[in-house]
């Protein structure tokens, strides 16, 4: 494994190397525009608003800050949120008060509904993604994964930084014949009453579970990519409710109570309260084992037909105080070395967002040299990525679920 110290050294060498190369070689030299951004950014602190419930992510963010500080003189201060919408509310409040230039939020870890809300309310800076030097490593062709966030066009307003894939985590000591699909899940639950649950539906992981079930159970998935109408929703979701009605009595506490989020659900797995948990990160099981939060027998389970996937992004609010510095940090996140460090299971274990065809051979080697873990699935094992439905489906799922089951 690469120790952080070694890595630090190598990245410094890289920096020196690229600094030397400016003027000597044309290739890695920065455009004038980017150099301006770097000059402007130096000495600033980026307030990065990011969900703070995951220690490993927090540690990774502070590592990013150390690196950008030594490379570009840009510090990172993570504002640990308990919900991403807190950052959206902050920007909205600033807009309401007419604070259009000195906002408190410089960068947000964001995706899906929160991104949609900010985009619709014109709360985002950009488009800027293409101006980042490291955007060259991304597949930005129209319709590619990095250009769409929950069916909403990114339009250069946010930078991808980590890959999210919906997976189940099972305790392999207790679950011998893992259910590979939602219909098998029903049979499994009937045989093991009270050993399955999902996070509350107001939480994104709860809705993701419902979406995964919807995609697997609905006869025609293509309608999910369009905005839902009353008719299309009722038709497409009917098999889902039938399935849910059948499985609900076999859920933990007969489906009358649910864990608040996936972290609590994983804690329940660890405590032995349930046998199956969920995560939006293929590395979650391995990471949980490494940090002592999950039993060593925890394994990732991917539905055989594939699972929902999306990309986590960072965006810059329209009124950020340190826009240039935020861009520098966003660009650093796309550095192949950063992505390889992030994918290291001893660090974060999140999959890279870079296009493997666009990075150099040397970088590809760095990725393949990463340590492996029994609990970490390979890309092949992960199978196909299912597309996120249009955001309107999420809203309707939440609403209908509440009407049916929350009284």
């Amino acid at each position: 494994m690469t120790t952080p110290i070694n890595y630090l050294r190598s990245i410094r060498l890289m920096a020196i190397y690229s600094a030397l190369s400016i003027g000597l070689f044309s290739q890695p030299s920065y455009s004038d525009q980017w150099q301006d951004t770097l000059d402007q950014a130096a000495g600033d602190t980026v307030y990065w608003h990011a969900w703070g419930g995951d220690t490993r992510t927090n540690d990774f963010i502070s590592w990013v800050g150390e690196q950008t500080d030594s490379l570009y003189g840009v510090k990172v201060q993570q504002v640990k949120l308990s919900s991403t919408s807190e950052a959206v509310t902050q920007v909205l409040a600033e807009k309401a008060a007419g604070e259009n230039t000195k906002g408190a939020v410089d960068m947000i870890w964001i995706n899906g509904p929160n991104f949609l809300a900010m985009k619709q309310q014109n709360l985002l800076h950009g488009p800027f993604v293409k101006n980042l030097p490291n955007a060259q490593y991304l597949d930005l062709s129209i319709g590619s994964a990095a250009t769409v966030d929950f069916t909403e066009a990114v339009d250069g307003l946010e930078v991808p930084w980590r890959l999210a894939r919906f997976v189940f985590i099972v305790d392999s000591d207790r679950v011998k014949n893992s259910p590979k699909s939602m219909s098998q899940m029903l049979t499994w639950a009937q045989q093991n009453p009270g050993r399955l649950t999902h996070p509350v539906v107001s939480n994104f992981m709860g809705t993701t579970f419902l979406k995964q079930a919807l995609i697997e159970l609905t006869p025609d998935t293509s309608v999910l990519q369009q905005e839902a109408s009353k008719v299309s929703f009722e038709k497409a979701s009917a098999p889902l409710w039938e399935w849910y009605d059948a499985i609900k009595p076999y859920l933990w506490r007969e489906g009358t109570s649910f864990p608040e989020n996936e972290a609590i659900q994983q804690q329940m797995l660890s405590d032995g309260v349930v046998d199956i948990a969920m995560a939006f990160d293929p590395g979650a099981a391995a990471a949980g084992i490494a940090s002592g939060l999950l039993p060593p027998s925890a394994r990732v389970l991917v539905p055989s037909e594939g699972s929902l996937g999306n990309i986590s992004f960072v965006a810059i609010p329209y009124n950020a105080s340190h826009t240039a510095a935020a861009k520098v940090v966003a660009n650093f996140l796309l550095q192949p070395e950063t992505q390889a460090h992030m994918q290291n299971i001893d660090v974060l274990g999140s999959f890279s967002v870079l296009d493997t065809n666009k990075i150099s051979h040397q970088h590809t080697m760095a990725f393949s040299a990463l340590p492996t873990s029994e609990a970490l699935p390979t890309l092949v094992e992960l199978g196909p990525t299912l597309l996120e439905p249009h955001s309107s489906w999420t809203e309707l799922l939440k609403q209908h679920w509440s009407e049916r089951y929350s009284q």
Binding site: Y47, G53, S85, T89, G98, A104, T256, S257
Partner: protein
């Protein structure tokens, strides 16, 4: 003797009743009132105003400019609304009334010096050391500890599994987060009992307790009946406001409901919080309606509570007049004598499990103790703590010092210049505690931003003061009023000036209550989550903001570390408040 001094003396003699003082010397009073209005009333009203506008459809930033009732319709149609309402009311009222009964019982217990007292009298010396940590610990920390204690996978089960219960896996039982909100109620009782108890013990010093009790007992009343018929009717008016504060807190708590309450549907306050946090920003409108509705519910609940108390007091009076000496309290006494130490013990054990967790690496079911230990989280903290701890301390010391100084100034000005506004202004002071935080914080944030206060330390101290000041006032006011005015009369007749009386008599006599008020202020400030986050724009990282965001990730080890650290600062303050005056008294001897 100056005019002012003679006026003051007159005021003392008439025990602070309204006096025909001339307007010319009233400027200190108006100054204090102006500070109060600008400092506390204005922010709350501004915030409530913004929220009310949004509740009625006006939120210009989302392009909504027209008055309508859509948000309210949406609110009432939200699934589970009535269950949420019911849950909120049941847990709020049940927790407050049980807490109050236990408090009164606790006071009676402390003052019962007779040999034949309760079974648990041996526990008495342990009460204070158990009370202080529970009082000092943040609500969320107690809630998390209690959850781990009582859950089917929790410590109590682990202690008896599998050797007694044969459980290799946690049973599929419902203990915490039950659908009726009973575990939430229990958590609230455990946390609020020490606060009410402490306030009551201070308030009881105003009543000539032992004399009244011995007279009553000599007339044939049992100890319990003497309390019921004689002491309680005198005690309740003194602790009325703290009780109402507890009631409102219980009805509007978010952090305890999040951890201990049911969630499909949750309590109204938690539901409101969720709607505020919804990714769909249009939900801000029904969320605002819910917040205003919640504020309305608080007012209504306070009203209902007050009426209930009036009725109970009337019934008591009838019972008193009957002259019955009956001793039918044994069963109740035994029940309470069990409930009270249980409550304290559960609160204390909640903190103990957090301590254990903070040194844990893995702790699998059904092990009675951690499977593997680690001090890495404490170690890691040492490298990362300075900022969050530093901010917490600055905020706590700053806001509590300002609050204590202002409270003393306020009370002294009232003493000197009379207080015919005092009834109304007291409501102003307690306003921030009587409306739910979420109902005005968003609006307040917009208001602060408009006047250019964007996330600075000053703005956050101000926001903390809204909550610290009322608590400081609450804990100080009764002791202040209880000063034996004869000391002041004697001093004045011996030629001591008004200022001399203030410095040398009042402040000296009140050293303990002042320090206690200051310590309560520190505890309140340390525990503030929403005001710190919202007004500080997330830039002011404190122990509490760290702890709450970590709690959303459910790493009990880290929650243990931060929860204990959060409790540690107020514990030190309480210890100082309790032991400093004793040390000083010893020195004087």
């Amino acid at each position: 003797m100056s005019d002012t001094a003679s006026n003051t003396l007159l005021a003392y003699i008439t025990k602070g009743r309204i006096l025909p003082v001339t307007f010319s010397i009233q400027w200190p009073k108006w100054t204090m009132l102006a500070i109060l209005v600008m400092g506390i009333l204005a922010p709350v009203v501004t915030g409530l105003g913004e929220t009310t506008r949004a509740a009625f459809g006006i939120l210009p930033v989302l392009g909504k400019h027209h008055f309508n009732l859509t948000a309210w319709q949406q609110l009432f149609q939200l699934p589970g609304f009535t269950t949420s309402l019911q849950l909120t009311l049941v847990s709020g009222f049940l927790a407050t009334s049980t807490g109050l009964i236990l408090t009164i019982f606790g006071c009676a217990w402390v003052y019962n010096t007779s040999e034949k007292s309760f079974l648990f009298s041996k526990l008495k010396p342990f009460i204070a050391p158990m009370l202080v940590p529970i009082l000092a610990a943040p609500h969320a920390a107690i809630a998390i500890g209690l959850t781990f204690l009582l859950a089917p996978s929790g410590w109590l089960t682990r202690l008896f599994s599998p050797w007694l219960t044969t459980w290799q896996l946690p049973p599929n039982l419902t203990t915490v987060q039950d659908l009726w909100g009973l575990s939430l109620t229990l958590g609230l009782i455990i946390k609020e009992l020490p606060f009410l108890w402490l306030i009551s013990l201070v308030a009881l010093k105003q009543i000539n307790l032992s004399k009244q009790l011995s007279i009553a007992q000599s007339m044939g009343y049992s100890y319990a009946n003497a309390w019921y018929k004689i002491i309680i009717p005198q005690l309740y008016p003194l602790i009325r406001l703290p009780v109402l504060v507890v009631l409102v807190y219980a009805l509007s708590t978010v952090d305890m409901a999040l951890i201990l309450g049911p969630n499909t549907p949750p309590t109204l306050a938690l539901a409101t919080m969720r709607w505020y946090n919804d990714a769909n920003v249009a939900m801000l409108l029904p969320a605002s309606a819910a917040a205003i509705g919640l504020a309305g519910l608080m007012i209504l609940s306070v009203f209902v509570w007050e009426i209930a108390i009036v009725i109970i007091m009337a019934v008591t009076k009838i019972a008193t007049r009957s002259g019955a000496r009956g001793k039918h309290w044994r069963l109740v006494s035994t029940a309470l004598a069990t409930a009270l130490p249980m409550s304290l013990l559960l609160g204390f054990l909640s903190l103990v499990v957090l301590l254990i967790w903070s040194f844990t690496w893995r702790w699998s079911f059904p092990d009675a103790l951690p499977t593997s230990w680690s001090y890495s989280y404490w170690l890691k903290l040492i490298t990362h703590w300075p900022l969050a701890l530093q901010h917490s301390i600055i905020l706590a010391l700053g806001s509590s010092a300002i609050a204590v100084i202002f409270a003393v100034a306020w009370l002294e000005v009232q003493d000197r210049f009379g207080g015919y506004l005092s009834r109304l202004t007291l409501w102003f002071i307690y306003l921030p505690l009587l409306v739910p935080q979420i109902a005005f914080l968003y609006g307040l944030k917009v208001g602060f931003l408009r006047i250019g206060l964007n996330g600075g330390m000053g703005a956050v101290i101000w926001a903390h003061l809204l909550f610290v000041f009322p608590y400081v006032m609450l804990s100080l006011i009764d002791s202040w009023r209880a000063i034996d005015r004869r000391y002041l009369q004697v001093a004045a007749s011996l030629g001591t000036s008004t200022w001399g009386c203030f410095w040398r008599i009042k402040l000296t006599l009140l050293l303990q209550p002042l320090l206690l008020a200051w310590a309560i202020g520190i505890a309140v400030s340390i525990g503030q989550y929403l005001p710190t986050l919202m007004i500080g724009a997330g830039k002011i990282e404190t122990l509490t903001t760290q702890a709450v965001s970590l709690a959303s990730g459910a790493d009990r080890r880290l929650v243990g570390v931060y929860g204990l650290l959060q409790a540690l600062v107020p514990i030190l303050a309480y210890m100082l408040a309790i032991y400093l005056p004793r040390l000083m008294a010893l020195k004087k001897l």
